[in-house]
Symmetry: C2
Subunit: 256 residues, 2 copies
């Protein structure tokens, strides 16, 4: 069972500005350079959270909209709701299943299994509307690669989380959640644990990877140009976690 | 429009251990004593996040299960799924509407409008199973009262957030979200803002109050006995925010 801290500790989230990135860049080299220029050092116990967009850009998951020929379905949908048909086309192409498509809102299940708006296809913070960014092909693998690269370079194995801003049912607004994880369990597991009164906890999995992604949402924002932060002081459960662990299986989801 | 930071800053979350609380306690006095004993001072720009349970306890929202006579419906449901019928009774009594009731999982819309499991009724971290804690009757008002009390005492008006752990569709695990807010907007509003490339952001409301609640989830956990934390370094938008702003109106919710 993952380790649970019995003592609360201060948590710090340190922004890591990184500058622009292009597909030929090594993201590990970019992170290293950013750490150096901001006089930051990775420490044992740190967690690195990266907004997915910088990872997608480094991996070439950028599509020039001028090269996209929208399908008739994408054109109809976009026309009815004043959207860019090429972006709608990409969103539909990245979808495994359409969950809802109503009032101009397209919620899909992506190829990866994420349920989100427009399959995570986004035009902001790219190049002013000429290109769209897709989600990383496999953000767990991206996180593992970055973790491995940092370990090789700094001799320190820290968890890496890749985040995106998703909407959710019932509640307004977006929050950053984890779509790629390496080097830690995505949960804090309270199963079988007893509280200070000896009462055994029933509801028992805390999605800490999502809460850590939310910290990056707070610290990085969308207009600062800061795509990453270092979280220090959170006692995580080591393990071979995967962001896929956060996907509720259809059989257990009362809302499918 | 709320102010958006153009520069990312370090965020700190400092746990505030507080010890047990009983209905005759003043929560503001308890917070003051905790600050003093941990040599902490509230600063301008700080945000105080409290787990709802300590607020509920201070407000007497605790029910002795021995006094509860479960309804036939609660008894049937509890029996079929090996639950405590008195807790099920309270959960049903606190519900305005049953959203889903299947496989032993009861999702309701509470009197306040929250959609969550068991109407937020919880037996952990109370007294070992003899009593249940209900959500505060009006957590926005609770937050406003605490904010006012702290202002009077320390001459400093800081935002107060009250959180609870909620599940959500599609994703596994619980995260802490805001159920009461005073002194800040619950959103960071990007509407009409342009990114560094001049592209106007479409998806535009970040639910920062939920992300801040999640920080308390990370820092406080469920077994440390720490019911609060101070968040320092987050540039919030001042305003008369309400956690109710986070409730998606039925007409805008594709999942009702």
């Amino acid at each position: 069972m993952p380790h649970i801290p019995e003592k609360a500790a201060e948590l710090r989230a340190i922004p890591l500005p990184m500058g622009a990135i292009v597909p030929s860049d090594s993201i590990v080299e970019k992170i290293s350079a950013a750490l150096k220029s901001h006089r930051l050092r990775l420490l044992v116990g740190d967690i690195l959270v990266l907004k997915h967009k910088i990872v997608s850009k480094a991996e070439g998951r950028v599509v020039a909209l001028g090269d996209v020929k929208a399908s008739p379905a994408a054109r109809r949908w976009a026309k009815a709701h004043d959207l860019d048909p090429r972006v709608s086309h990409l969103a539909l192409a990245e979808a495994r299943r359409i969950v809802r498509q109503r009032n101009g809102v397209l919620i899909t299940e992506t190829r990866h299994g994420w349920i989100c708006a427009n399959s995570g296809v986004d035009v902001s913070n790219v190049d002013g509307g000429k290109s769209a960014v897709l989600l990383p092909a496999d953000a767990d693998r991206s996180a593992a690669n970055i973790r491995r690269g940092l370990k090789k370079k700094f001799r320190i194995g820290i968890p890496v989380i890749i985040s995106d801003s998703f909407g959710r049912p019932w509640r307004e607004g977006l929050t950053d959640v984890a779509i790629g994880v390496a080097g830690m369990s995505v949960f804090r597991d309270y199963r079988g644990r007893r509280d200070g009164f000896g009462y055994s906890l029933r509801v028992s999995l805390e999605a800490v990877a999502d809460e850590l992604a939310g910290v990056a949402g707070l610290v990085c924002g969308k207009l600062t140009g800061v795509p990453a932060c270092i979280i220090r002081g959170f006692i995580f459960a080591e393990g071979r976690g995967s962001a896929k662990d956060l996907i509720r299986p259809a059989a257990r989801d009362l809302f499918r």
